[in-house]
Each structure stands twice: as structure tokens, then as C-alpha cells.
């Protein structure tokens, strides 16, 4: 929608701008057409739990983009920090809300420290931050494995009888059970605080969004900024919200299949909304303005007295800390810690989700993140089904979705650089 309003210079440019998003929408719709096996209830259950699990991680990518660092694949380091915190909590058998708070606090310290060092690295690899962030993730994975496979057991003595230590007493097991919250563990520690049915949540979100749109429209008029308003987008967006609310009410009244969808964790949702608000608000502070000016031109920012290096380090640190919390939210929902695999794909998947939402290396917002997470996960659920129904092999769909992940990142980055190069060439000429 936004893209359509901003770029009125031809449909071709709009399609190029949103190519990735269009491919994904088409793919998901195609999936619904060809596969008969997916029920609406199953689809939305899967989708909502995945969205609640991943949104926080995807949102953590926004600030580095705005600060001109590009897509921070280094959030895997944040994810590892979160896992270190969870491993400590699990080792000392902490659980429930207090255990969770301990995890958040520990992860914050570890991630801030790691973020500081990655930030310094990005300052040294200026112009190549994205490849550096990818490689630093691999590098950190080596250190992480050294810590978990070797330091634990050889340097720090641990009892071999502990359920998370390997039977020979050295290193942490491949999978660690996080123990359900009822038995004093971390599994669902956040999600189980308060849950509401899916349709109620839809209704609340739809009404909330509707009020937000109307209030913003009204505020703009009152403050004399009515030029920011667009009547058509108000009607379209407001109408969509009301339609969504209508669907929810209809489902409640008729007790349709949507009522069967798994319940929705409220506190997790509130945390995600809180992060959205935080991201919007921080951009209005002095620090946020610094991020923006550094993102636009490091040189201009330097000249106007902003400490560019420091600003970039802060942006990286915030991103890493948020990613560590995101990983904790992710893992308490999964219920098991895949010690050596859980973090490896996080960077790529989150980046791909953000790009699918329409973001690029220099432009990203919360709408991109949330919309992208929903769309990306919808594709993820559908692709094995497509592989199954078209070719009789679910494996094919899985390979296809791996291809989509890498392809999306490659295509989105490629288009962006290509356009930037073309623009600079026109300027030069």
C-alpha cells in the first residue's frame, strides 16, 4: 500500500520495489489452491504460534538498518547470548517467571558485551558490514561451541549426572529439555501467563488498529498537519480493520472453524507490541535522530558533531540485546533447547522475513517486520504441502523453501544495490 502511494512513477518500478513481497503472496495463494490437506484451523494455529515466536527477533533487525549498518546477520550472536542465559538458568534449575526474568537480565549483560565488540568490528569493516556480520556469526558459533562442548566439563567442573550434561561429563547435550513451567521449568513460562482464544485476539487487534488509525488522523488535523493524512488510505485501512473485526465476530457467533485455532499468548503479544512502540519512540529521541543521520550519510553526521562510531556501536548493542530476548521468547515457546542448531538459522530467517515484508538494506519499519513475519511463515507452512501435492514429495517443498530463503535475500540485496548503482551513475553523468 505504502509503496503504491509513494511511487506513482509507473507500475514497473512499483513491481520491482515489491518484487519479493509479490512473489511470496502469489506463492502462498498458490499453495492454498493446490493443496487440499491444509485446514484453516491448522494453518492459523501454526501461523499464529510461529508469528508470536519470531516477531521479536525480526523486529530486532530494524535499528541497525536505520543506522546504516544494513541487515545485521550478527543477531545470531544475540541468539547465542540468549541461549547462554537459558543454559545457566536450566543448570541451576531456575524456572517460572523469576527464572525468565533472570534469563532476560543475564542475556542482556552478555548480549550487550558481545554487541559492543561486534559494533567495533563493524566500524572496522565499514562498507562491508553485511558480509562481516554473516562471518562473525560463524566465528561466534565456533566460540559458542568451544564454550558449550569444551569449557563446560573440562575447565568448569560439572556433575555428569545433571540431565543437561552429556553422560561423559564433558559438554552440554544436543537437546536440552526446558521442563514445563508447571514443574518449575522455563517451557511456556511467558506464554502460559495469560492466554485468550485466537478470534478474541483478532478482534482486539482489529479494533486497536482501527482506533490507532482514527486517532492519528484526528491528531494530525488538530496539530495542523493534515497534509500528512490521506483520506483514501484511511478508508482502505479502516475498512480492512473493520472487515477483520467483522470476520472475528462472525466466527464467534457461528462457532466456525476459526474457534478451533490454538489460543494466543497475551504477554508475548504485549512484549512484541511494546517493542514496536519502543522502536517507533526511540527514533523520535536524540539518539534516534543520530541513528537516522548516521544512516543517511556518515560524513555529514560526523561533520555535524555526531560521534558516528559510538552511534553505530549503540545501534548494534541494542539489536543484539533485543535478539537475545527474542531468542529467549522463541525457546520458551519451543520448550527444548537445540543447543547447537537453534541459533544457526535465526539470522537468515529473520533477515528473509524482514525483506519479504518489503524492507531493504536502507529502509525498514515495524510494518515491514510484522507483515514480513506473517507472510514468510505462511510460505513456510505451505511449501511442504505444495511439494506434496504437486510432486508427491514433501522433501521437494522443503528444499524449495530453503531456496526461497536464500533467494529472497540475494534478490532483495541485489535489486537494492543495482538500483543504488544506477542512481549514482545517473548522478555522475
Amino acid at each position: 500500500m505504502d509503496g503504491l502511494n509513494r511511487n506513482s512513477n509507473g507500475a514497473g518500478s512499483w513491481i520491482l520495489e515489491n518484487l519479493v513481497t509479490i512473489i511470496f503472496v502469489a506463492f502462498t495463494l498458490f499453495g492454498f489452491m493446490v493443496s487440499s490437506g491444509v485446514s484453516v484451523g491448522y494453518f492459523f494455529s501454526e501461523l499464529s504460534s510461529r508469528v508470536f515466536r519470531n516477531s521479536f527477533l525480526v523486529l530486532s533487525l530494524i535499528i541497525p538498518v536505520l543506522a546504516g549498518l544494513g541487515l545485521n546477520f550478527g543477531i545470531v550472536i544475540g541468539a547465542m547470548s540468549g541461549q547462554v542465559a537459558i543454559a545457566i538458568a536450566r543448570y541451576f534449575e531456575m524456572g517460572g517467571i523469576s527464572g525468565l526474568l533472570f534469563c532476560f537480565a543475564t542475556a542482556m549483560v552478555v548480549a550487550a558485551l558481545c554487541g559492543y565488540f561486534t559494533g567495533r568490528l563493524y566500524n572496522k569493516t565499514r562498507g562491508q558490514e553485511m558480509i562481516a556480520s554473516l562471518i562473525v556469526g560463524f566465528f561466534a558459533n565456533g566460540i559458542y561451541q568451544f564454550l558449550f562442548l569444551f569449557v563446560v566439563g573440562v575447565i568448569i567442573a560439572v556433575p555428569a549426572t545433571h540431565p543437561m550434561i552429556k553422560p561423559d561429563g564433558v559438554g552440554i547435550r544436543m537437546t536440552v529439555d526446558l521442563v514445563p513451567v508447571k514443574q518449575g521449568g522455563l517451557k511456556y513460562a511467558l506464554d502460559n501467563i495469560y492466554q485468550v482464544p485466537f478470534v478474541h485476539a483478532i478482534l482486539a487487534v482489529a479494533i486497536g488498529l482501527f482506533l490507532l488509525i482514527v486517532v492519528r488522523y484526528w491528531l494530525n488535523i488538530r496539530k495542523g498537519r493534515s497534509y500528512l493524512n490521506s483520506r483514501s488510505s484511511l478508508i482502505v485501512n479502516g475498512g480492512l480493520c473493520l472487515a477483520l473485526a467483522g470476520v472475528a465476530i462472525h466466527a464467534m457467533v457461528t462457532k466456525s472453524e476459526l474457534m478451533m485455532v490454538r489460543k494466543v499468548p497475551v504477554v508475548t503479544g504485549l512484549l512484541i507490541i511494546g517493542l514496536c512502540v519502543f522502536t517507533v519512540l526511540i527514533m523520535k529521541t536524540k539518539l534516534g535522530q543520530d541513528f537516522r543521520s548516521v544512516g543517511q550519510s556518515q560524513h555529514t553526521a560526523e561533520v555535524s558533531g555526531i560521534n558516528v562510531d559510538r552511534t553505530r556501536i549503540i545501534a548494534t548493542m541494542i539489536s543484539t540485546v533485543l535478539a537475545s530476548w527474542g531468542q529467549i521468547i522463541y525457546l520458551q515457546n519451543m520448550g527444548t533447547l537445540n543447543t547447537y542448531n537453534a541459533h544457526t538459522q535465526i539470522g537468515m530467517f529473520s533477515v528473509a522475513a524482514l525483506l519479504v515484508g518489503g524492507a531493504s538494506t536502507s529502509k525498514a519499519g515495524i510494518t515491514h517486520a510484522i507483515f514480513g513475519t506473517i507472510l514468510f511463515n505462511a510460505m513456510f507452512i505451505m511449501s511442504p504441502e505444495i511439494g506434496q501435492s504437486l510432486f508427491g514429495q514433501a522433501l521437494l517443498g522443503e528444499y524449495f523453501r530453503t531456496f526461497m530463503v536464500y533467494g529472497v535475500i540475494g534478490v532483495a540485496l541485489g535489486i537494492h544495490v543495482w538500483k543504488a548503482n544506477k542512481k549514482s551513475r545517473i548522478v555522475v553523468e
Partner: protein, 358 residues
Amino acid sequence: MAEMNGNGNNHLRTSGSLFGDIGLPTVIIAVFWVLTLVAGHFVGISMSTLVSDTIKRAGMNGILVLAMVPAIQSGTGPNFALPIGIVCGLLGLVTSIEMDMTGMAWLLTSFALAIPLAAAVGYGYGKLMNAVKGSEMTIATYTGFSIVALMCLAWLMIPFRNPKMGWFIGRGLRETIQLDAVGGAQILNKFLLFTVGDVIVPTGLLLTFAFFAFLVRLFFRSKLGIAISAGGINPKFAQAAGLNIDRNRILANVVSTILGAIGIIVYSQSYGYAQLYTAPLMMAFPAVAAILIGGATASRAKVSHVVIGVVLFQGLLTTALPVANEIFVGTDLSEIMRMIIQNGIILYALTQVKRGVQ
């Protein structure tokens, strides 16, 4: 900042005559390797086995590392899209098996099929690299990843019927294909193989590597090769001198992709298995690390860097595995060490890159 560092290095280089042109990473890795060897000696690991394995692994990885030279020299940076060349090589290899070739005929047919394919694909890839100047490394990485993922689909759907490659049930090719079945395992290694004491010297493998290294060296002595290097050092100057930079960059990437394709065939025959599906995904990184260890930077590389780098890196890895297993029983320390060294060295090289085009 970058220029200041550069000056500092020059200053160091002129004053420290002991190491001459040898860079810091090379020295560190070499010292580390020697220490591992000494440790290995004391825990009683057979030195001749270690040396044999080092020679073998250096030879088998050599051409893949060699593929970095043209790409770096042309100014596109290390070829992080090496998997593109690799899948071309693998495709040539399996097609050759499908054609019921065996032995030396199989090997030569593989080369013959893979090279034109790699040239065509490399041309497209070179075009892409020209479109995305300034961010080549990131985009190359993801292009490589995408191609590997796409080829996973191809391996699964390709209508090859040869029972040596298929699954027992269902369609598609196996994850690892035994080359024993076509008489292709170690075919180059066994050629003129001899032993000095207990050290096995796979002459054919080394000759192949030497041959291609020589070719690349010769290529960069030719007029065209020098033009490519000039474009890499200073594109504006080269442009002013009337060189067609974009065409040279494409050409360099074609050569690099072809070397990648040849490299994986040589690698597979020495390993004894062709690994399909996701196996090529991460293969670019060890190759990049090896040439950097040899003393190359992200913008300058020579064939000598390839030889030094691949021997040091593979030597260290070969030695570290048994030594680490002997000293710290039950841990997989060598794999961890590989990850840290390999990615650490790439990061170090990235910090030395001058600011990219923005």
C-alpha cells in the same frame, strides 16, 4: 582510517626485514601448525601419516583455492560464490556417470561437460557482479547459497536412471555417490603414486594442481591477465587507459567458476565420493580462508599465496584432528578450531578492506 592502516603496514614492512613480504596471519598459522606438530610428536602420532594426509588434502583442495585468484585480482573480491562453480562440476560429474563412463574416460568427460557449463554460468555470474559493484561479497555469498538450494531441487528431480547414483526407492540422486563404482575413486592420486619411506606422494594429484596453478600464473603474465589485474588495482586508471573493465571482470569470474568446477571434480575423485545436495553450501569459506592465510588480501592475490595457504591451512587441520583427539579425549576440538580460524581470518581480511563504494 584504512589509508592510515595501510601506511602503518608499509612502515612495518620496510623495517621488519625478517619476515619480508610474509603477513602476520601466515606467521601465526605457521607457528601454530609447528606447535601442533610438536605436540603430535610427543603424544606419539605417526609423522609420516600426517605428512601424507597433508599433501593429499592440500592437493585436493588446491584448485578450489586457486579459483579465488582471478576473482580477487579482477577486483570483485574473494569468490564467495564458489558453490556455483562447484555445482557445475558436480553436474558434469554425474552426467558423465549417467553416460556410463568409467575410469579415465569418466574423468575427462566430466571435465569436458563441466567446463563449458561453468563458462556459461560464470558469464552470467560475472554480469551480476558488475551490476552490484560495491557489495559483491555479500551478494556473491547469497547467490552461491541460492544456487546450491536450487540444485537440491534439481538433484531430486533430474531424470537420471543409472543405478549407481539413484536411491533404492523413489526418484532423484543419492546424497553421496561412490566413485568406486565407476572406477573413479583416487584415479588421479594413484597415477604415478610413490612412497618415500612411509610418506605417500599422490603424484597425479599434485601434477594436476601444479598444472592448473601454472596455467593461472601464465594467464596473469599474459596481456589479458595484466589488464585484469590493472582493473582490480585501480578501476578508474584502467578505464582511462582504455581497458574494458566490466568485460575483464566477467572474464575473470568465468575463469574462477571454471576452476571451481574443475576443483570439485579433482576433490571428489580424491575423496572417493561426490557429495551432492547441501554439501557445497559452505565450501567457499575454507577456500577463502586458505588463500588469505597464504598472504593474499581481499584485493590482491598470487598463485604463491594459494600454495602456501592451502598447505598451511590443510596441514593445520589434518594435524589438529588426531592431536586434539589424543590430548582431549572425547571432544571435537579440531572442528571448533577450524571454525574459529577460518572465520577469524576472513574477518581479519575484511577489516583490511578499504571502504567499499557507497
